[in-house]
């Protein structure tokens, strides 16, 4: 734990957090006012009780007594109402502000390039957007306003006490240093003890997690008895750590009571003496008894608030770090217009590496693609084959501009893709991946991706021509069938067909396809092959091919190995060359024959 970094409240960070309150400053002002009023009304009551006792009860004025009670009741209700308004308002402000922050953060993350996602675990991003932002709400709502409220309350109470009788007030305050000291001593000891319990809890939890996940191993190797003993030991240490914390609490609460009572005792003693000498009325005495109690609560609250604030700041720092880093693909300020497209693709001397720090001059460095050049005419189909790691998927990633290349250029219809807006470029390219990603939602949602412009009719027509409508209509909910997360409820083949429909419905001029390697049953296989034919008709297509039929029907085949284009031509040409292609072809053929 970086204790040094806990300068506690880093001013700049705090200011940045508070800037999110900007749009709500009027409400913040209102909240301040209510806090002040409430802070004032609270201590007012004992004063009024004092007056009541001295003026009405002692003198026996029933009428006056009743009036005072009415007044007091009114104040009580007002105080209650206002403190409710204050509490809710501060929460409201906080929630609004973090809603704004959450929205901004999410959009920022979405905009980032794939490179960012390759290197950042999703779990971490989720934590930022959800729990880190949430912890900030504490600061924005309760934190700032409540702290001020407590401070003001202390000020008002002191003021009232002093205005009634400065000697008693001093006496009451005299015990305050004791209280503060006790509180800090306690907090320090407890923090250490808590750290220990947190460690123990983590140990216990990780033991349980490990052993539940690996219970099979424990049982297979007959380790039950030994593990039980180990568990007991950890369990025991956990218990001990907590018992130590309980000790401190057990000590602290009575101590606090004692201090408050000391104040009370002093009040009675001294107050009584003064009463005898006529310098003090009984009402004042009773009022002070109430003040003594009222005084110590805000002090205790303040130290709690401080801790919450500190941990929220840590979360804020992480969030702002994320917001400040930007690795999105840079887009042209004024992109070339790209509304209609023929579909001619060209790669010109493309060199690429996923490593952003690679030396682009160094030919011997670890390039994924080396001097790759090829072209595809509109309406043609290109199949890319090669062993794993040859660079096939990379070609697709680059065409869609998920990454920017280091050397060379990629052109669509003769226009360099870096000069086109990302949205335009991608609107003309349809992507079908081998790992079909389906979202939770209906089939319709997954096909249209919630695009209102795609009519049901268009969707159904696409599904029919792909041949997917058969299985979709078998579900009672049909297109409203709920697809579970990642499409678990559908078979692999069905998911493939859906992703084809999705691609077709967006009717792109260029189709990019990363074929699945795992096999499906023959019936679905046929459906898929037909669907593919339908999909590739009248389009330029670039396919990473694994199917025999795809390879055989392609207009041109590109054979890649270790990032370079080794051979290219039609199927017949390449077979007769008897090189790399032939071997690869036989491999595919064998595998598919074996599994047929």
């Amino acid at each position: 734990m970086s204790e040094e970094k806990k300068k506690g409240l880093d001013g700049r960070l705090l200011r940045r957090i508070i800037s999110y309150l900007e749009p709500y400053k009027i409400w913040v002002g209102v909240a301040f006012i209510t806090v002040l009023v409430v802070a004032f009304l609270g201590p007012l009551r004992p004063k009024l009780v004092q007056i009541t006792i001295d003026q009405d009860i002692v003198t026996g004025d029933l009428e006056g007594l009743r009036n005072m009670i009415m007044l007091l009741f009114g104040i009580l209700v007002a105080e209650g109402l206002l403190s409710f308004v204050n509490a809710y308002l501060t929460q409201w402000i906080g929630q609004q502000a973090i809603y704004d922050l959450r929205t901004k953060l999410y959009r920022h993350i979405q905009r980032q390039s794939l490179r960012f996602f390759d290197t950042t675990p999703i779990g971490r991003l989720i934590t930022r957007v959800t729990s880190d932002v949430e912890s900030l709400s504490q600061v924005l709502s309760a934190g700032v306003v409540t702290i001020l409220g407590d401070l003001f309350k202390l000020i008002f109470i002191s003021w009232f006490m002093f205005s009634l009788n400065w000697e008693l007030a001093l006496l009451t305050l005299a015990v305050m240093p004791l209280m503060v000291y006790a509180t800090f001593w306690f907090k320090r000891k407890v923090r250490v003890a808590y750290r220990e319990t947190r460690t123990q809890v983590a140990r216990l939890n990780s033991f349980l997690q490990e052993h539940i996940s690996g219970m099979k191993i424990v049982q297979l190797f007959g380790r039950e008895e030994e593990e039980m003993n180990r568990f007991k030991a950890i369990n025991d240490e956990h218990r001990q750590a907590h018992i130590r914390t309980i000790f401190y609490y057990a000590l602290f609460f009575p101590l606090v009571d004692l201090v408050a009572t000391i104040a009370l005792g002093l009040v009675i003693w001294f107050g009584g003496l003064n009463a005898m000498q006529g310098t003090l009325t009984l009402g004042v005495l009773i009022a002070f008894i109430q003040y003594a109690r009222q005084f110590f609560e805000p002090i205790r609250n303040l130290s709690d608030q401080f801790n919450t604030l500190q941990s929220a700041m840590a979360g804020a720092e992480r969030i702002f770090d994320l917001l400040d880093s930007d690795s999105s693909i840079p887009e042209e300020e004024s992109p070339v217009d790209f509304k209609s497209v023929d579909g001619r693709i060209e790669f010109r001397n493309v060199w690429f590496s996923y490593d952003p720090k690679i030396d682009s001059e160094d030919d011997e460095a670890d390039w994924i693609l080396r001097d790759v050049s090829f072209s595809v005419n509109p309406g043609q189909s290109l199949a890319i084959v090669g062993a794993t790691g040859a660079g096939k998927s990379t070609v697709i990633n680059l065409l869609l501009r998920f990454y920017d290349i280091q050397r060379g250029s990629i052109l669509v219809d003769g226009v360099d893709i870096t000069s086109i807006s990302l949205a335009d470029l991608r609107s003309h390219i349809g992507l079908v991946l081998q790992d079909v990603f389906l979202f939770s939602g209906t089939i319709r949602d997954n096909i249209t991706l919630r695009n209102d412009e795609i009519t049901d009719e268009r969707m159904k027509r696409a599904a029919a021509s792909i041949g997917a409508s058969a299985f979709i209509e078998r579900f009672s909910a049909q297109y409203d069938y709920e697809v579970r997360e990642r499409g678990m409820s559908l078979s692999h083949g069905q998911r493939q067909l859906l992703s084809f429909v999705r691609a077709l419905v967006y009717a792109p001029r260029i189709l990019v396809l990363d074929e699945a390697t795992s096999s499906v049953d023959t019936e679905t296989e046929e459906a898929i092959q037909n669907a593919l034919e339908r999909l590739m008709k009248d389009r330029t297509s670039v396919a990473i091919a694994h199917r025999l039929s795809t390879i055989q029907h392609a207009d041109k085949i590109l054979v890649m190995h270790r990032g370079q284009v080794r051979e290219s031509g039609s199927h017949q040409e390449l077979i007769s060359q008897d090189g790399l292609y032939r071997k690869l072809y036989e491999l595919q053929y064998q595998e598919q024959k074996a599994l047929a």
């Binding site: 009780v49 029933l62 009670i69 009741f73 009580l76 209700v77 105080e79 509490a87 809710y88 929460q91 409201w92 929630q95 609004q96 999410y106 979405q110 991003l125 989720i126 990780s206 349980l208 997690q209 490990e210 219970m215 191993i217 049982q219 297979l220 039950e224 039980m228 309980i246 609490y249 057990a250 000590l251 609460f253 009575p254 009571d257 000391i262 002093l266 009675i268 009584g272 009463a275 005898m276 006529g278 009984l282 005495l285 009773i286 008894i289 109430q290 869609l400 998920f402 990302l422 991608r426 991946l433 991706l449 919630r450 997360e485 190995h561 071997k583 491999l587 595998e591 074996a594 599994l595």
Partner: protein
Amino acid sequence: MVVRQAIDSIPRFVTSYRAFQGTPLENYLYTDYFFSLLTFGLMIMALSVGSGIFSFLMRQTVVVASRHIEYDLRNRLYDQLQNLSHDFYLKHATGDLITRSTSDIEQVRRYIGPAIMYTTRALVIIVVALSVMFVISPKLTWYTLIPMPFLAVSVGLVAHLVHSRSDALQFQYSVLTSRVQEALSGIRVLKAYSREKVEAEAFDKESADYRKKSLDLAFIEAAWRPVFLTLVGVSTLIVVWVGGTLAIAGEITIGNIAEYIIYVALMTWPVASMGFVITMVQRAAASMDRLNEIFDAEPGIVTTEGEAIKEAKGAIAFEAVSFRHPASEVKALNSVSFAAPAGSTLAVVGRTGSGKTTLVEMIPRLLDAESGTVRIDGRDVKSIPVDVLRSMIGYVPQDVFLFSDTVAENISFGTLGAEQSLIEKAALEADLLDNISSFQDGFETFVGERGITLSGGQKQRTSIARALIRQPRILILDDALSAVDVGTEQTILGHLKKQFGKRTIVIVSHRISAVKDADHIIVLDEGQIIENGNHDSLVQEDGFYAALHHKQLLERELEELA
């Protein structure tokens, strides 16, 4: 009470003091009263110390006791978890079980300790305070009590609402989290189809819903303190008003008023806490239910008190064994029969999902056959005590699982107290010794959960060493060589071959190279044996095995080509 006496005595003091003013007795009286008041003050403090001590003791006993209870409960739970068999773990998600073992137990403990404490304290305080108050003035007491029931009820209501709304909030939080997770996992598709904006808008909707639910909760929480304090304030007001009236009428003293104010202050928290306690107990009951689901579960594999095998040889036989997974309609194993004589090597080959792992899991009785019999050395496995059976078997599972412990501890996991020489020998046979020697702490190197710091191949070899060190009669390798390269595979197999004849080995693999030298090879597809024989006979058959073999040869060639 003391406060009251003190306050009441003050007017007496005042009047008598004034009476003697200006007389020589004045000073004398002053000191006398000085000390009386001092005594009062000290008595108040002494009482506070006394109650403080008791409060301390109470917390030390009750809350500490709750921790002891928690300790026992956890031990029992873990014991039960160890007893439950593999089929239970297949049915229940790991995450769910972990939540029950951690957070549900926490709920039960949290609410039993404080709940008892609050209840006893509340009862005592209320009884004592009320009895004194009644003695002084029944009338005033009744009036003072009016707000109390409201207090308890409103607190209970608030607590209930707080819980239900925070549950709703938790739920929405997890919806939000899932949404983010999905969107970010599928970011590629989103970008490819330029759906980012639409997705962001959908996210905003969920985010707004979360905000609403947060505010719903905040509403209740904001109302709670004002309501509480208002009710307390009203009590005080009643004391002042009715008490004042009675004091004017001379029925009670002003000291009494002060006293009542203090009593009211004392009673409010205990009364309010009653409202909490009820909801607390509800939550604890719900958690206890969830825990009982585990406690009440019956272990699927029950061990018998049969005889141990005197001279275990390790012959395995399956007779028409069938098995179906609990929620599935399809048979994982369909009438599988084969025999592997002691000391022979059996290989099981087949596609993913063909039933290979299920088959080998039946040998150490992780699963029991639905129909048919599994025999070891001619005896039905169900008739052999489970611990005896498992001590005969060394199992290397498909998913490598190592514990957060040292390498030595992991290897000797199944052989308690194994000597260093044995550990090293096992490491050697698994071709791991060189690697370990290169580690800074050697065998004492710690590996994280699931063996993070080791490479995939190293983890697998550790897993193999763990099985080998047991010198088992039966060695089962479930796809245990998938993460190692061909060279290492050959080395390990070389060591294993020395074991051939000494023990029965069952190898499950995709790789023909690992399986080639087995005495007997069976090919599984959809739970049934479709081919069996040895390497040569199967290649001749030109079926699945042969095709697989050919493909792997080609892959080898391809790698060498480039």
